[in-house]
Symmetry: D2
Subunit: 144 residues, 4 copies
């Protein structure tokens, strides 16, 4: 595999993303994870746009987030998205969200995406464009 298949983004917590307790509302982390996943897509040639132009969508099928600490307005967060090799027709990523200055861990997460055609029908085997991408990235196939 081409070294580490991962990307990172820096996100600054918006006032509108914090809740009455004064911390980031937990649902907003889904946006931060997607920011990092989209950056991965741009950097490694697997963007939403590219998948769409290949005739597919890749909806999130499974999402699991664990929150270790809370984050506050103006705080800079570093979100890292790592590709997790897996068999078959799915796209798996692991994430860490941490304080960008001191590295304190804030949350960890995993997502699994499946492929559907533009009509919304699930694609049980890996689409050609995805097989090609895995070859180019020299991805091993691991259980996931």
């Amino acid at each position: 595999m081409q070294g580490d298949l991962q990307s990172e983004v820096m996100v600054r917590v918006r006032f509108s993303e914090t809740d009455p307790v004064g911390v980031v509302w937990h649902g907003n982390y889904v946006k931060y994870l997607e920011d990092a996943r989209e950056e991965f897509g741009r950097q490694w040639g697997l963007s939403y746009r590219y998948i769409s132009e290949s005739g597919y969508y890749a909806p999130v099928f499974d999402m699991h987030i664990r929150f270790d600490r809370s984050a506050r307005v103006d705080q800079w967060l570093k979100v890292v998205c790592r590709y997790h090799p897996s068999k078959g027709a799915k796209l798996c990523f692991d994430y860490t969200v941490s304080d960008a200055l001191d590295g304190t861990l804030i949350a960890t997460a995993e997502t699994v995406q499946l492929f559907t055609t533009k009509d919304g029908v699930f694609e049980p085997s890996a689409p050609a464009f995805f097989q090609e991408w895995k070859r180019k990235m020299e991805c091993p196939e691991e259980d996931g």
Copy 2:
């Protein structure tokens, strides 16, 4: 005009819509207004879906909101959307947001929508489907 061309919805303030001050974050009112406008569309035959199937989009071009009071988590709001007759190729609505129980006024707003083709080109004259709708509703043409 067919009596009052207006619709209303009841909206309950979500925890995630409130900010660190404990009140609804002002940007969330845009959703409440759209809830009432979509209800208007369903009730009076001018829904997003119908406009889209007629070959057009109706993007918001101008939005003006005045906030009189703040709203809190769990509060029930009544949002009223009134059609405001106007000349030409635009769709104008007035809104009031008030406490659903005691009627206290919380916000007032106006929006103006223009028409574009599916390619995003502005349509300078009223599309046929909209002229037809105005005839059916017996709308006078007023300046707006």
Copy 3:
């Protein structure tokens, strides 16, 4: 246990909650789950407000969602939130999101909340108000 400790809400999908694919953006389900959990709180005496007035917060610590189907604008969803009895200082819920008309399953989820003091310090043993609530609800203690 007092019959089934569960609550349900009906949610109508907003235009602003759908994405370029025309379906609900997956992060918006977090709001639907919270709608049902807040309804549970109001119905069974365990609301955000009550917990807060007891001197605690109950931040979400773990959230897991599986998406079976997509939902579209205007669709009515039924969200059911069930209390899942567990040992110790945590609050566990299971959820189902389904089409409100034909019952088709759209998503399932689980959340785990822990307790913190107002200063954000984790509370390792069940707060008195929560023990009292469990007694009143005649909750068995199960592993979870």
Copy 4:
């Protein structure tokens, strides 16, 4: 006045901020405006935090946005927030949102904020901290 009292931020459009038409949902611009206003606050000593520590909130009282063009996923936007001097107890800003690469204008906006005490009571005359800030910034008093 200290040259131009203005600040700018760069914002990249998120997938989750776009709607079924494939463009930024209009309500999301409220977040972009706030991003620029918060940057102004940090840069010129008038942040949400500072206002709050001075014993006040500054809720948005009036917001007016005009949309000239739509923006798409991944597009970089430049949002400029300019302080607009005005008499009395209000805080006025003008905004432009434009394409960060070619400068095409996307939206313009104005907001007016008033001051309230922490109990939510409107403050009819300019709080001391705000008068002090205006002196430091050598702001003229203009009608607004």
